[in-house]
Symmetry: C2
């Protein structure tokens, strides 16, 4: 099975065989993290970055009253904390939402890549820029969309991101995320998440039973969520 990071990057630009080899060999070890365990903790100063090979993970912060905000949801092929290479101190924790298979890429290796492989460096930089673009999109959805639109938007995004790494089966994706976790992502209460999902179901836009999320009406879902995929940079071009 091919490395989902390479799959992800090759969607955005061509990688040379040499670059792919460098990426493959950048991985020192692969570990398993069980659901609900921390992968990295806020305040940590990692000397390696974690690449998600399998499973779902989330970046999160806890605020004073114990409430939690998820600032990113991650699917296979995503780096969970590539930014710790240069930011040094983690400004948030990263949590496994399901059992996760995680590859470690030492920061010394990343430094070497920046010294010797300019194009590959740009591709890794791009990877973090896409994270940023998603953050901006979430900010807009959170600040200016209704709860229902926001949820529709998130579903559109996750569907496309999963599809882009080969994790969609037709209109269906496995999305093992609880409504409480969705609430922490959207900044909503669990109760309201439940009502919003019911609305999307009643409208015939999605089916969501167990972990199986099915898109029933893509066009209308996109419209409800005011979704345009530009920010995901799914275009292949010279970078």
């Amino acid at each position: 099975m091919t490395n989902p990071l390479i799959l992800k990057l090759e969607q955005r630009d061509r990688l040379s065989d040499d670059e792919k080899k460098v990426l493959e060999s950048a991985i020192t070890r692969v570990r398993i993290v069980e659901a609900d365990e921390d992968i990295v903790r806020e305040g940590d100063r990692p000397n390696e970055s974690s690449l998600l090979l399998d499973g779902f993970a989330a970046r999160y912060k806890i605020v004073s009253n114990g409430r939690r905000q998820i600032s990113a949801l991650h699917v296979p092929g995503d780096f969970l904390d590539l930014h710790s290479f240069l930011l040094k101190t983690m400004d948030h924790g990263v949590l496994a939402l399901t059992t996760c298979r995680i590859a470690a890429v030492p920061h010394v290796t990343l430094e070497k890549i920046t010294d010797e492989y300019p194009h590959l460096t740009r591709m890794l930089w791009l990877n973090t820029l896409i994270d940023g673009a998603i953050h901006r999109e979430w900010l807009t959805a959170m600040g200016r969309l209704s709860a229902t639109a926001h949820m529709a938007h998130l579903i559109c995004e996750l569907y496309l991101r999963l599809k882009a790494v080969g994790r969609a089966e037709g209109d269906m994706v496995q999305l093992p995320i609880t409504q409480a976790e969705l609430g922490d992502t959207l900044g909503l209460s669990t109760v309201h998440v439940n009502r919003v999902l019911q609305e999307l179901r009643k409208e015939g836009l999605i089916r969501f039973q167990g972990d199986a999320l099915t898109i029933l009406d893509w066009e209308r879902l996109k419209k409800v969520g005011e979704f345009t995929s530009t920010y995901l940079s799914l275009q292949n071009e010279d970078r």
Copy 2:
């Protein structure tokens, strides 16, 4: 007057004289953009990135009902769209909030830097990573803090960012931003922004008359806004 970008980066790591020279000479032209004008538009594919030398600017998106969300506020020394170097297509617009002095850095020059100056490349990458860290912090504030706490948080952040590029005079900074713009930043209505500001004033935390924002009680303001500055990466270390 020294380039505020160099001031900003030197706060995070040492720059060699050579690197500083490269940065200085990366600028092709400087232009003035008047308040309320677009600096870059959503959908643009710029072949240069804009560096803010003077003034205030904002990244924003417009949603269907005409409402606007500001996803970033920029102060001198900030790149407004360094990410367009690799993302290619702008996923948001950038607007001048005041008269702005803007330097253009061609993408071909940035490409050359990534080819030849690894450490400088990492510093530019870092710059975009800090943008991302701010996005995450805003997401948390927006999703899980009260309007008052969110406002206090934003004020703490802007004060520190302005101070970091030498734009604070003691406890005071010039902040020429309207309450409507603050609302678009926080995801609030103008009316509510007004009430929240009154509360912060009544509590003796800030003074805000005209454009002059004064921090009257930093410790208490930080506490109200649940503010910790880690995410701004104000530490000088090897990157």
